[in-house]
Symmetry: C2
Subunit: 204 residues, 2 copies
Amino acid sequence: MNPMPSKQPDLTRQKLLEAAFAEIHRQGFQSASLTQILADTGLTKGALYHHFPDKKALGLAVVEEVIRPMLAAMMFEPLRETRRPIAAMQSLLKAKAAETDPWVVTLGCPLNNLMQEMSPIDETFRRVLNQLFKEWVEVVKHGIVRGQASGEVRKNIDAAETAFFIVSALEGCIGMSKNTQSMEAYRGCLKQLSRFLETLKEKK
Amino acid sequence: MNPMPSKQPDLTRQKLLEAAFAEIHRQGFQSASLTQILADTGLTKGALYHHFPDKKALGLAVVEEVIRPMLAAMMFEPLRETRRPIAAMQSLLKAKAAETDPWVVTLGCPLNNLMQEMSPIDETFRRVLNQLFKEWVEVVKHGIVRGQASGEVRKNIDAAETAFFIVSALEGCIGMSKNTQSMEAYRGCLKQLSRFLETLKEKK
DNA sequence: CTTGACACATACCAACCGGTATGTATGATG
DNA sequence: CATCATACATACCGGTTGGTATGTGTCAAG
């Protein structure tokens, strides 16, 4: 009846995923230590290898079940149905710039970190990460297209190319700011990206 | 007199640096294997630890003595004395887009790779990498300032912020294209960056 | 001719890695 | 009550890691 706190497999799996996410976010996938993850969770290898066949599967699960929902909530949802994507994205950037948590500036975007590390050396990772990345670009692209329909966005721009660039530039800003470890540089970079977005608007 | 081919210490050191650069570029610093580097050079640990005190020193030397000159030749020099930086950068981007070597698209920018991996977890690396990055931004910034003086560039833009953004966006383009492994996406992204540069020009 | 610093090569080490084999408590099922 | 799969824990393994200690050949100086 009263289920023991330590015998809920779904909860255990979730704890492993979250600890793995944190460790991977800090150290990267290859340098992430399973021992460390287990130390963080208080679990053992028995639990880990019961829920995941190997380290790689754990990493891929982190992408699908931790990073994807996170990204969807933060970046996809706000753009999903907007008819004024430029305005939506600018308020999104403003929100990011207003964050006081140095999380992003110190550790960077989890998706980008993994892409940079794993895409060149592991095809499975590359496919999964690229799929997620492409979804992101697609969301932005559809936003732009809707913006073009509603008259907010100029019609002589390539929606796909522009969307790819916007996401790339944002990841670039985050990455460089991570190196600088300066919230101020981060905000300035986002401001310039916002300036670029402004140039996409239809002139009235 | 005739110096033996294998007893020129400077040459040995250089071989180690280049092999280390290649290995680090592929695998990242943490996952770079000293054994692999030695196998690539045909040398042994005796040679390595004669020239470098430890792995970290080797990595930092790679940054200073391989990546820095490479970056300086490719990105700094073309902008050093130009009075029309926008034009110079656009021809630079054009040259990058025209490259058929998939080197950049498959492995990415060595500087950015190291920054993403090492900056959050090692302060020494972060300082060295950030120094190099800041020099890059500075070169672009000075170019913009000179462009403002010569009338090519609008005067109501923040040179420092803009320079930071340009470098960030470029690194972002490279990074995302590395993930996509598509030369076409890479070229499209550079084209959008070029479009941004165009908006910096003084209206005639 | 000897000495000694330099430029490596060889052999070895403890620590850690991901992964496996086995043991065990629990809870549902027949 | 017996059975059996689930959900872990424990103990262990071979391989690899960065790093070290020692050996050796060369060459220049004294």
